[in-house]
C-alpha cells in the first residue's frame, strides 16, 4: 500500500548540510520538501505556513537554536511535525528526546542511518496519536533567554530584560520595557527555569526581576506592594514578602 505523500522542512544554517539531507531525500519520492531554512526564525515561519509532517532540525544555529525552535512550534495531537534533529553535537540528545523528537542524527551520517530515522518518523506519523509533545524539561543551567512567539514573529528576550512575569491561567505574560509578550507556559515551570538569584515569586501570580525593584510599601489594605523602578506596583503576598526578605538579606 503506497503511503500518503509527506511534506518536510529542512533547517540548518549550513547550506551544504541542507543539501545533504535534500540529496538523501531524493530517494524517497513520497517526501516533498516544502521549505529550506537557514535559521530558527525562518523555521518557525515556515512551519506555521507550510504545516509540514517532518522537520529536519539543526541544533546549533545563530540566535535561536533548534531546541528553542521546537519549543515554539505548534505540534498537533499526533505529534506532527515529527522532528528529526540533525547535529554534530551529541550532548543535546537527551533534551531532544525529552522534547519527544523522533530521532537524533549525528553528523556525518550515512544513508542507512538517515533512512532509519525517516522510517521512525513514518511509523510515528502512521501511528497517529503518538505521545503528545511534552514541554521541554528544564535545562541543567538556568535560562539565559526566553523565546516567545506571536503569530510567526519570534522574540528572544534575554532574562535580564524581563521586568516581571504575570500568570494568566495556562499562560504567562512577560513584561519587558513597557511591552508584554504572552507565552503558553505555567508560572511555576518558568520560575524553575529562570535564574533563582534574579527572579523571586512575590505572589501566586507574579514573578519579579529583583533588579527592577525600587522599594516595598505597606498598603492600606494591610498587604504590601512592590514598587518597580518604572513606577509599576505589584502585589506581594505574605510568603512572597518572606522570600523577598530572604533574598535581600534585610530583617
Amino acid at each position: 500500500m503506497p503511503s500518503p505523500p509527506l511534506g518536510a522542512v529542512l533547517v540548518d544554517d549550513e547550506p551544504l548540510a541542507r543539501s545533504l539531507v535534500r540529496q538523501l531525500l531524493a530517494a524517497h519520492p513520497d517526501i516533498r520538501i516544502l521549505a529550506e531554512c537557514a535559521n530558527g526564525f525562518e523555521a518557525i515561519r515556515a512551519v506555521a505556513e507550510t504545516n509540514p509532517d517532518i522537520l529536519f532540525l539543526d541544533v546549533q544555529m545563530p540566535q535561536l537554536d533548534g531546541l528553542e525552535v521546537l519549543e515554539l512550534i505548534d505540534r498537533d495531537a499526533a505529534g506532527r511535525p515529527a522532528v528529526i534533529f540533525v547535529t554534530a553535537y551529541d550532548q543535546y540528545a537527551l533534551k531532544a528526546f525529552d522534547a519527544n523528537a523522533v530521532d537524533y542524527l549525528l553528523k556525518p551520517f550515512d544513508r542507512a542511518r538517515f533512512d532509519r530515522a525517516l522510517e521512525r518518523a513514518r511509523t510515528r506519523l502512521a501511528a497517529g496519536g503518538g505521545p503528545v509533545a511534552l514541554p521541554l524539561a528544564p535545562r541543567g543551567m538556568p535560562l539565559a533567554r526566553v523565546v516567545v512567539k506571536d503569530g510567526v514573529t519570534v522574540t528572544v528576550l534575554p532574562v535580564e530584560k524581563i521586568d516581571y512575569v504575570k500568570a494568566e491561567d495556562d499562560y504567562v505574560l512577560l513584561f519587558s520595557g513597557g511591552r508584554n509578550h504572552i507565552k503558553k507556559q505555567t508560572l511555576a515551570s518558568l520560575e524553575d527555569a529562570l535564574p533563582r538569584e534574579r527572579f523571586v515569586r512575590i505572589h501566586r501570580s507574579y514573578l519579579l526581576n529583583l533588579d527592577r525593584l525600587a522599594r516595598v510599601e505597606g498598603s492600606v489594605a494591610g498587604g504590601s506592594m512592590a514598587v518597580l523602578i518604572d513606577g509599576t506596583s505589584l502585589p506581594v503576598s505574605r510568603a512572597g514578602a518572606q522570600r523577598l526578605r530572604a533574598l535581600l538579606g534585610s530583617p
Binding site: E14, L16, Q23, Q60, A88, Y89, K107, A144, P158
Partner: protein, 351 residues
C-alpha cells in the same frame, strides 16, 4: 625596598659575612693605630654593623647603573664617587664614635690614635663598599638569569597550552564533524570540490600537528594556516562568511610563536560571524610601521549580544603568550566599536 629586607634569611647570611670583615677592621685598627684589643673591639663592632647597612645602599646604585658597555665610563665614575662618599661617611662616624667613647676615662686617647689609622680605615671603607657592590651585581645577574629561565618555561607552557587547545579544536565536533558532513554533501554532486575540501582539511590538520615541534614560525606561515582554516569554514558557511584582507608583505618574515593568531581567527568565525543570522566579513590586516608590526583581526558583532562563553579563552591565551614572548614590547588590544569586534596585536618586527 632592598630584597634582603623582604627575605630575612638572606639578610642574616649577609650580616654573618660581616663578622670576619669587622674582625679585619679591628685588626687594622690595632696595627695602624696601636689600639688595644678592647678599644679596637669597642670601635670596630658598631662600625662594622653600621657599614654593613650603609653598604646595602649600593643595591640602588647597581639598579641605576646596569652593566652596559656604552656607559662604562659614567658607571665607573659614579661607583667611584659613591664608594668614596660612603667611606668618608664611615670614617666620620668612626671619629664621632671615638670622641663619644673618649668621655670614658679608659678611652681618653682614642680619637688621637684613630686619626693615625684614618687613611687605612678610609681605604678599607672604599674596598668594602666596592666588594658589596660587586656582590649586588652578581646577585642581580643571577636573578636576571633565573627570571629569563622562568619566562622561557612559562612560554613553553603557554605554547603547549595553545597547541593543546588548537588540537582540541581540530578534534571537536563543531569543526571536524561539520567539515566531514560538508564533504559528505559534496561527494555526489560536486566531487571535485569534495576532493579539494579533503585536501584542505588534511593540509590544515597536518600543518597544525607539525607546528607543535617548533618554538617559532614566520608570520607568513601563521597566515597561511589561517587561510586554510578560513577556506574550510567558507565551504561550510557559504555566503555568510566573506573575507577582506590587507596584508603587508614586509611583515611576513617576523617570527611569532606557532598558532598565535589561530585562536583569534577561530573566535571571529565561531562567536562573531557564526552567531549572526546574516553572517559578515572577517578582516585580517597586517602592517609594518618602522620596527613594529601590527596584526588586526576584526569581525562584526552585535553590540547588545551577551559575550558567548569561551570567547575570552583564546584571547587571554594570546595576551599571555605575547606578554611572555615580548614583555612590555608587545601589546594586545581588544574592543568593540562601531558594531565590530577588533583585536590588534602589536609586536617588534624581529625576524
Amino acid at each position: 625596598m632592598h630584597p634582603f629586607f623582604t627575605q630575612s634569611g638572606r639578610l642574616g647570611v649577609y650580616l654573618l659575612g660581616w663578622i670576619p670583615l669587622t674582625a679585619i677592621l679591628g685588626g687594622l685598627l690595632m696595627l695602624a693605630g696601636g689600639l688595644s684589643l678592647l678599644e679596637a673591639a669597642a670601635l670596630a663592632a658598631p662600625l662594622g654593623l653600621l657599614y654593613a647597612f650603609l653598604c646595602l645602599s649600593s643595591w640602588y646604585l647597581c639598579r641605576a647603573f646596569p652593566v652596559d658597555s656604552a656607559r662604562l665610563l659614567a658607571t665607573a665614575s659614579a661607583l667611584a664617587v659613591a664608594s668614596i662618599v660612603a667611606a668618608s661617611l664611615w670614617l666620620l662616624s668612626g671619629t664621632t664614635l671615638a670622641w663619644v667613647l673618649a668621655l670614658l676615662p679608659a678611652f681618653e686617647t682614642l680619637p688621637d690614635r684613630l686619626q693615625h689609622a684614618g687613611p687605612v680605615v678610609f681605604l678599607l671603607g672604599v674596598l668594602l663598599y666596592l666588594l658589596v657592590l660587586a656582590m649586588h651585581y652578581v646577585l642581580e645577574a643571577a636573578e636576571a638569569a633565573r627570571d629569563q629561565e622562568r619566562r622561557a618555561a612559562e612560554l613553553r607552557t603557554l605554547a603547549r597550552e595553545a597547541e593543546l587547545q588548537a588540537l582540541r579544536e581540530r578534534l571537536n565536533p563543531h569543526f571536524l564533524f561539520n567539515s566531514l558532513n560538508s564533504i559528505a554533501a559534496l561527494v555526489a554532486v560536486r566531487p571535485e570540490e569534495a576532493r579539494s575540501m579533503c585536501a584542505l582539511l588534511s593540509d590544515f590538520l597536518r600543518t597544525t600537528l607539525g607546528m607543535s615541534e617548533r618554538s617559532s614560525i614566520t608570520l607568513r606561515e601563521e597566515l597561511a594556516l589561517a587561510h586554510r582554516y578560513l577556506a574550510i569554514e567558507q565551504v561550510r558557511f557559504g555566503d555568510r562568511l566573506t573575507m577582506a584582507e590587507d596584508l603587508d608583505d614586509s611583515a611576513f618574515d617576523v617570527a611569532v610563536p606557532p598558532l598565535l593568531l589561530q585562536p583569534l581567527v577561530e573566535n571571529a568565525v565561531k562567536h562573531g560571524i557564526g552567531a549572526r543570522l546574516e553572517g559578515g566579513t572577517l578582516s585580517l590586516v597586517t602592517k609594518r610601521r618602522g620596527d613594529r608590526i601590527s596584526i588586526v583581526v576584526e569581525n562584526p558583532a552585535d553590540a547588545g549580544s551577551e559575550k558567548p562563553a569561551g570567547a575570552g579563552m583564546g584571547l587571554s591565551n594570546v595576551r599571555r603568550r605575547v606578554a611572555a614572548c615580548w614583555g612590555d614590547a608587545g601589546h594586545v588590544g581588544a574592543g568593540l566599536s562601531n558594531g565590530r569586534f577588533r583585536v590588534e596585536i602589536e609586536l617588534p618586527a624581529r625576524p
